[in-house]
Amino acid sequence: MTTTIDRITIDSHDHGDDHDGGRGHDEVHVHDHAEHHGPSGILNWLTTTDHKIIGLSYTVTSVIMLIIGGALAEVIRGQLANPNGHLVTLAQYNELFTMHGSIMIYLFAGPFAFGALANIIVPIQIGAPDMAFPRLNALSYWLYLTGAITMLLGFFVTGGAANFGWVGYAPLSDAIYSPGAGADLWIGGLMLTGFSAIFTGVNICATVFYLRAPGMTLFRMPIFTWNLLVVSILILLAFPVLTAGLIMLYADRHLGTHIFTVVGGGSPVLWQHIFWFWGHPEVYILALPFFGMVTEIIPVFSRKPVFGYKGMIFATLTIAALSLGVWAHHMFTTGVVLLPFFSIMSLLIAVPTGIKIFNWIGSMWRGQIWFSAAMLFSIGFVITFLIGGLTGVYLASPPLDFFTHDTYFIVAHFHSVVMALVIGGMAGLYFWGPKITGYMLNERIGKAQFWLLFIGTQVFTIPQYILGLQGMPRRMAVYPNDPQWQNLNTLSSVGAILIGISTVVFVLNIVASWKKHPAGDNPWDAHTLEWFTTSPPPHHNFFRLPKIRSERPTWDHNHPDAKALAHGKDAH
């Protein structure tokens, strides 16, 4: 069924008997021309084009991927708890670290960042009834799901899953060194999820450009939506490169080409250029949505507007601009890349990221901070990302990178970064969960989960920094029987167990909170348009819309006597 949407203004003048208590806010009632009578049950899931149901499907699928990837990590840490662990064979260990990285990056972090919460929240934040292309949106989800299944099928074929690392470096990933269906399933799964991401990027760009509500100028959009717009542009720049690279890799494996093999005149380093030209923007594609989440959460729980709204936007755009020129800092040790260029660009990109950190602190400064679970997770995100970001600045310096390349220092650095994203994602789930489901999550259990996750993350990563500086290489299933190395590895494994327990606590919280405490429309007294509609929002999102005069339209509506917030030309 197709539904046509009209915005029909009904309450546009002062009168005292309506829902806004006669404050004189002009509101618009949004009417579907046809009521939604779609299929129900599993057929509803298979045929839905509603961005909220698709977003929820993304959320559930990506959290399942997080749990699978996390379970693989626990096995890895179990193996490394002793110098000569026998939990898995050396071959199985290669599969484990490859699939752990692949699942976490390709199947959890990315889809959760720009498929799950973005899908649900972005259209509502700008007052849109749905994504611009609802059927393309549904296709994105099905490609993601089938891509995930394809990659995981590798565990069930002869020869096992892909085992060449999540970066798939040639020639290790070619047909000679990595024969078997597992590697092909890895390539095929990535192609499907890659197209899924590209379609989502197109959809978010079109939605933000064409479906904003009247008065929702670009410089009134919430920072989360801004970040998703920039992420979508980056997706459209980076993902086609990866897809092209995967086609070339497949051609090398099966069609007799020699694009990445020296023997036929190709270049293995070309794969690294292609992979990291996608791979480093991908870091920002992963991180920026979580930056957006905490930028929404921190001001709400500090009872202040965000500090430096426009500065945040320009910092995001600067990160996007620089992110296309930093890829080869992953390739410093190849000896064939321009060290000064990539070092300068990589150091420069720390500046806009630093601006964001200062703005988050500025948003909290002198605020009336409410330490809710979502706020605790947000603060935990800032601290953990700061650790990961600062160690990344060291790695932008070639001499330091030469020293630490392929050691556990690198592993610790990017696990600080990605664990910050997990912590930020939890902040998003505790913040927007009530809006999506209509019910609150238990705050006490949430805070317990936070401390387990936050402390677990630091106990997990900090020993790895020390191990890396002492020279322990990454991707080792066994290591020399040095007591200090063993103690540090055991400590890191304890951190991994704490992280695992925190995940169990999260699942228990969902079970314990299931349909217990109705959330109401705006349980946090939050700022943006998604908090103006019901929890969960109706089909096509709004029954009415408020007047939009700042980046906090819901807050303006609920606090009519407060000082108006406006920027630049918008200040009237």
Partner: protein, 130 residues
């Protein structure tokens, strides 16, 4: 629409500048080509939006003083449900399986893709699922 155009064009010009510096300095072709295409990928939609922004009237969503009445009226038609994205997704899945397990899987894969393409177009033309 003009701000959207300016953002994309600015990004494209920056990528162009970065590409020129990098390519001249490094003489490495792969990165240079990819940055050049990155520039094109920004300038292409950016210049399209700019071209349109000079020809279209102001939109309610670009007006900071717009009232909700100014946006009243027909927005668009949104399909409430459709089976064809699922069918197309399954078709793509079988096509990828054909890359791994044998080309015979292209038969169900392409059949599903063609069914979804034809069905989706027909569904769009008649205005929704039936």
């Amino acid at each position: 629409m003009r701000i959207e155009a300016k953002i994309l064009i600015s990004l494209g010009l920056f990528f162009g500048l970065m590409c020129a510096v990098y390519w001249t300095w490094s003489l490495e072709n792969a990165g240079g080509v990819m940055m050049l295409f990155g520039m094109g990928l920004c300038l292409l939609p950016g210049s399209y939006y700019y071209w349109w922004s000079r020809r279209m009237g102001p939109r309610a969503e670009d007006d900071p003083n717009a009232t909700q009445e100014s946006g009243a009226g027909y927005i668009d038609a949104f399909p409430g449900s459709s089976i064809f994205p699922f069918i197309l997704g399954m078709g793509a899945f079988f096509v990828v399986m054909a890359m791994v397990f044998g080309s015979w899987m292209l038969i169900p894969g392409l059949a599903l893709v063609i069914w979804a393409a034809l069905g989706g177009i027909a569904e769009g033309r008649r205005g929704g699922a039936r």
